[in-house]
Symmetry: C2
Subunit: 212 residues, 2 copies
DNA sequence: CCCAATACTAGAACAGGTTGCAATTCTCGT
DNA sequence: ACGAGAATTGCAACCTGTTCTAGTATTGGG
């Protein structure tokens, strides 16, 4: 990719800050929705490379400059898409307790379901994981949000009422391993089975103590 | 308690295959060396963005087309640089047993030393970790080499004579967590202290069982 | 030593992310 | 309803990774 040397920020701050997705006029919310929709559609069809800024803008029916006003870079755009999707998933998961007798079982169940879902849309998964991993400091806030969502998903699966610091740490470690394995799967360095096995091992080692 | 001391192999294997180092005429080997040298110098000075293909070519004294003949993309180039550096580190580490009474102690020591070294060259670290994470399937072979080097480094630190599959799995999990935390540090989402703490937790949870 | 194959060079050209800008359209407070 | 300021548009331009070409230098097998 051709990333230009950093200079003075070109466009004013994005209209919609991460904290208040609901902000802006209805027209603006709709533009934002169309942009993310276009992004996810293109990513699903052809992965990271297919998410071309001109193509996203055209498909969303906005000018290129407007796209950049809403999302200051391609990586911001994709990570925002990831956060959106992850938020939907989390909402569904938190609606009910996870089945399973032990924390390890429940975490593995949640990981398994998500992994299977991600593997069903390999291009989308590739686009989002690569953007997430490539994100630099300017995307830190969005990346942090994704991390928080993942952490919540895993602590919820662990089934702790109020997550202690150590609970959160363990969730983070599991999340790190999950992500690394997704990357390995996306780049064909690990099979779906490898991913499941490694997650199972990690969870067993990290969580088995709490169930006895 | 204190388990068997880790042992240095009598004749350490070279970290890169001879075929690779030995390939080509002396002039070609020298060009390759100059290219990687230029890459690391630019990365050290300005990170991922400063490693510009035209700049690397000029600094190495080769034409742009030649640079692409040696390394088919910027990511290949940087990951090759990473493998080179990691190979040097591994060579030094494997020369002697690692100090420490338990596998956990030794692994933490090795991780600590490397983490400190990486944090001394933040731009270089940023360039290499981002390239590594952004690598797509065409770089799989180089990425795999880096993974193997990391795995060897960690199993060596664990001090096992002959790494079992589970040993390797554990090493891989630790490597994954290490990498994730480096990325988090590079992007200012985690402090140096955070990284050390999380690695300590991970190693404790994954390795404490083997030391009792 | 000679020649064909291969490698190298300089530079143009192309692709896609990002920025700049002038003109137009919206929005909103009064 | 009105006018100022903000948002949007349509394009052109710019930057850097990557590819291509035509010409020149090296090299290795005979």
């Amino acid at each position: 990719m051709a990333e230009r040397a950093p200079r003075t920020p070109a466009h004013p701050r994005p209209v919609v800050s991460l904290a208040e997705v609901e902000a802006g006029s209805p027209a603006q919310r709709d533009r934002r929705r169309r942009i993310l929709e276009a992004t996810l559609a293109l990513a699903t069809k052809g992965g990271f490379d297919a998410v071309q800024m001109r193509a996203v803008a055209e498909r969303a029916g906005v000018a290129l400059g407007t796209l950049y006003r809403y999302f200051p870079s391609k990586v911001h755009l994709l990570v925002a898409g990831l956060a959106l999707e992850l938020g939907r998933v989390l909402e569904r998961i938190e609606r009910a307790p996870v089945a399973g007798d032990t924390a390890a079982d429940r975490v593995l169940l949640v990981l398994h379901r998500n992994t299977v879902a991600l593997q069903r849309d390999p291009h989308l998964t590739e686009a989002m994981t690569r953007a997430f991993m490539f994100a630099d400091t300017s995307v830190a806030e969005e990346v942090r949000q994704v991390s928080r969502l993942t952490e919540r998903m895993l602590t919820h699966a662990m089934g702790v009422e109020e997550a202690s610091e150590e609970d959160k740490d363990i969730a983070r470690v599991i999340g790190d391993v999950w992500l690394s394995n997704l990357v390995a799967w996306v780049t064909h360095r690990a099979s779906a089975e490898d991913v499941e096995n490694r997650l199972a091992l990690t969870v067993r080692l990290l969580l088995s103590a709490r169930d006895r």
